[in-house]
Symmetry: C2
Subunit: 239 residues, 2 copies
């Protein structure tokens, strides 16, 4: 088998977080990129990732390469999509792409690595390979998923104010939302449960909410044994 | 590079359709399987599929191998998930799995191939590799997706009665649904548009409906340039 006949498998990861610089009026959706230190695309920014080892599963490879490059260890990585266009790399590479949303405090706990920087997704440099397309797809999925799932949860602490939740949506959609309309919509959704606690500080106290964990999470991967596990084959065969 | 160090890439396809045998009271969700003619798992039933050619994209490989094995050529194959557990095959194989829903008339048009048979998903034989798990995941996704998208559309003609739509849901969920409740729910969903036409026959005339194409389809792949295309990178960078 010559090297031209080989398809190699890589994993890459799209990590999204929210960042609000001191003095910024609004939060931004940010992501870590790794500067490539070898060809192809030497010097360009690329998604964190690496080669799949023959002895490790896809999820493990995604976690390992993410930790090696960025120091991040999110509790849950979801498989996003497999990218396999013939011309996406000078050699034939199929990339299994994972993604995760991480809170700002998780980002701060990670040990910064060389050649890693965080970028505002609204102002990205040209990326290596087809990573522009991959990031575009991830951001599109993020926007389409917040509408029907609790995905914004990944960017928030366990309890949050409606203003904090609205800020997440505003950063994802890149536009301001009317506070009264937003409150009405989320209160009618059944997704949020008000707590007895309040955020106090420089503003008037704001009630803290949490997500209703009984609302089923749609569209998780098959290997998740969390809130919405895939059925065992014996269960599914009853359908 | 020895053969033990190679990870190979395969594609497999889960094709789901509805079937109602003469005399059956209810429709069933059925799928085609291919009997393996070589080891590993010789004689077992498996998903249609084959190896990714180094010169073809993932979508093309899925379409080609599906047509070669089953004669089916659905207009749209959606990528479902990449399965890559280390022990899922005697050699290391990552399978990119696609799926599609096809109407009964599309199934009838396909030229039957050797070693292919259609099975009721509620009564499947033990499958080769991890294909039991893959089918279980596909059926779980089908059940979770019909709740928030127009996915049942793939199993129906362009216009259909509410009874025909309900039959799709009943087959997917494996239980009867109350006709009056079902009618109320779909009429309130905004997904259906009543037409001026009626199905006539042995029963009283039933109004035909079609799906509202303006309702955005959630969760399509990034390479779809149909109803809900992923944004170009230049669009997404504005978010």
């Amino acid at each position: 088998m010559s090297s031209e006949d080989i398809t190699r498998v890589a994993v890459s990861t799209v990590i999204l977080s929210l960042k609000r610089e001191p003095g910024d009026e609004h939060a931004s959706v940010v992501m870590p990129l790794v500067r490539r230190v070898r060809d192809p695309f030497e010097g360009r920014w690329a998604l964190p990732g690496g080669w799949l080892d023959v002895h490790e599963g896809l999820d493990a490879a995604a976690s390992r390469t993410l930790a090696e490059t960025t120091g991040l260890s999110p509790s849950y990585l979801e498989q996003l999509y497999a990218f396999g266009a013939v011309d996406r790399s000078p050699t034939r590479v199929v990339s299994i792409v994972y993604w995760a949303l991480v809170r700002a405090d998780e980002v701060e706990q990670a040990h910064p690595q060389e050649n890693v920087a965080w970028f505002d997704t609204a102002d990205l440099p040209p990326l290596a390979f087809d990573h522009d397309e991959i990031v575009g797809y991830a951001l599109w999925r993020l926007r389409s998923k917040v509408g029907y799932s609790r995905i914004a949860h990944g960017l928030l602490p366990g309890e949050f104010t409606l203003a904090e939740l609205r800020e997440v949506y505003e950063a994802i959609f890149g536009r301001r939302l009317d506070p009264a309309n937003f409150r009405r919509q989320v209160e009618n959704s059944g997704n949020l449960i008000p707590t007895d606690r309040f955020r106090t500080g420089s503003h008037r106290p704001a009630r803290l909410y949490r997500y209703n964990r009984e609302v089923e999470l749609a569209d998780r991967g098959p290997l998740t044994h969390g809130l919405a596990p895939a059925p065992l084959p014996s269960e599914s065969s009853r359908s």
